[in-house]
Amino acid sequence: MRVVLTRIFAFAKVGLFMSIFGIVLREIVYRRLGFVLGVFTIALAVGCVLGQLLILEQHDRRSEVILTVHEAAYEKELADLEDDIRVFTKNLGFNLVIFPKDANLAHFSSKGYIDSTMPQEYADRLAKTPLVSVNHLLPVLEKRVFAPEVDLEIKLVGTIGELAIAKKGKKKPFLEPVATGKIILGNELRRRLEGKTKPAGGTLNPGDKITLLGRVFTIHKLQPKHLGPEDTTAWVHLKDAQEIFDQPGRINALYALGCNCSAGRMGVIREEIEAVLPETQVEEFETKAMARAESRTRAAQTRKSILDQAGKERTELRDQKEAFLGVLVPLVTLAALTLLGVIAWTNMRERRGEIGLYRALGWRSSQILALVLLRALVVGVTGTVLGLLVVLAAGRMQGEGYDWIATHGIVLPVLLLGAPIASLIAAWIPALYAARQDPADILQQELT
């Protein structure tokens, strides 16, 4: 105990001024270049690892912002697209068609209309029923018939536009209504009638009178070219069609457009209609309206897919960066260890005579070991702090706070402890070599 106290007292008297640590500090000041090289090596390694973390953090944040912006843009674009689809397909057809009970569906498939009829009153009855799902009702009498005026079999569609459904109020007409005595002409019909009624180069215009199926009509509207059945179709008022076909008060189809938000609700609509009109059959009409509903679903799926893909790409990019970090960290550590080892070895060789002298003066091998390792520790701690400060400063310059380090949990403490320990490990072999040096070997070389 007394010996220990004496030593402590002696150390206190000599103090830091003449402790091994004091000697280490003086040696560092004396051989600045080696120290600076060692510090830069550690700082570079620490900076490299922390810098990677900072880059990953920034990548996460920026990609989050980009993803959010893209998500908003996609949402808007796809909502616009959905809207466009809704508007574009609005006039193209219906989801369901109501036929007379005895309708020959094969005829409908081959000719595009039903050859049997049902009372027009069905349409009124259905319209007066508070249907939950059906938004639009369109009674129609349509047939294909040969028109000698255009020398062509045409489709004549008689309609009164849309019926108001009870409790839903008057809606904007789903199909443009045609007044009695007026007609809408498909493009091919217009072309043929122009050829017959106008001089070369003359055109038909709304308000002009034409004769079709032996009846004079005033042109209400001329349809653009569709390159489809519409080009040989003429639309007239239902009453006119009933008179032409000599079927007053009769219709052969009642088109019903169901809910326009999901293709999955067709069953509900069908049940509602069949309950009101038991003498009919309700068929799902594979029209563009179906495609419309499907398009919407597809648009929503596309949106989800695009966003999922963007998220996946972001995750993949991050994984790649993490994998790169996983390779970089061991490589940087190995390179730093090697370089530190070389620096420590060079330093030890440079101090060989000095170490021999300390040994000659009676220093124990543990004290020589401490002399070399303490220096390595100072290099490690200084380099770690420098590397950390540089990365924090760089982060601040890029607008980062300090909280990004906390998000990486254990990394910082591991790094703060690991870098100085790595420095010690690198100096371990040179330190052992120095501690085991026989002072006679060194001094003999120095003395002779």
């Binding site: 002696a10 000599v14 000095e354 003066l361 009676g362 220093w363």
Partner: protein, 227 residues
Amino acid sequence: MNPAILRLENVSKSFAGPRGEVRVLRGLSLDINAGEFVAMQGASGAGKTTLLLLAGAMLRPETGRVVVNGVDVYAAGAEERAHCRSRHIGFVFQQFHLVPYLSVLQNVLAPGIAFANGETNGRAEEVLARFGMTHRLHHRPAQLSSGERQRVALARALLHRPALVLADEPTGNLDLENGRIVLDALAEVAKEGAAVLLVTHDPGASARAHRVIPLKPVEQAASLLQP
């Protein structure tokens, strides 16, 4: 009669050379008592430095024993030998061997770290004052003359009042005046009770010793012994 501080008994040492083994010392025996100033004189290659390292507990002989202040130094372990050096032996080298980044005072205190043996600034300043170095306490070795450096080295060797002082050509790089100061100091140390072994090829330095032992190369010595 004073006790023997340094005892070499039948000590031999050889080294591997480019043309085979070179025997430097063969069967050397020597006693140096407390208060005795002994000069070992010989030409280059005679084994003076080898003898000094053997006596300083730094070079193990192939045969024989080295006893310093009663301790058989090569029978002990490395740490005990280090302890022996820090406690009982003071070294003075021709090349001074001062640590370049320590001040004069710190250089003198350096042995004190070895075993935290309580040598203080006061003692360091005392020995430095003895050699007229008070005004240079905080200078670096590079700022000193050769003579001053050797005086600092001498002060460092005497810091812990060693029983044995080993000096290897301490005046070899000095002018006459500084050489005289060093030799005076060694004589003074011997007078105070320490054993001093001076290794030199300078007859003038040897003349200051109580006893001069000529050291010849082994081959030559062997031939001289032949009838």
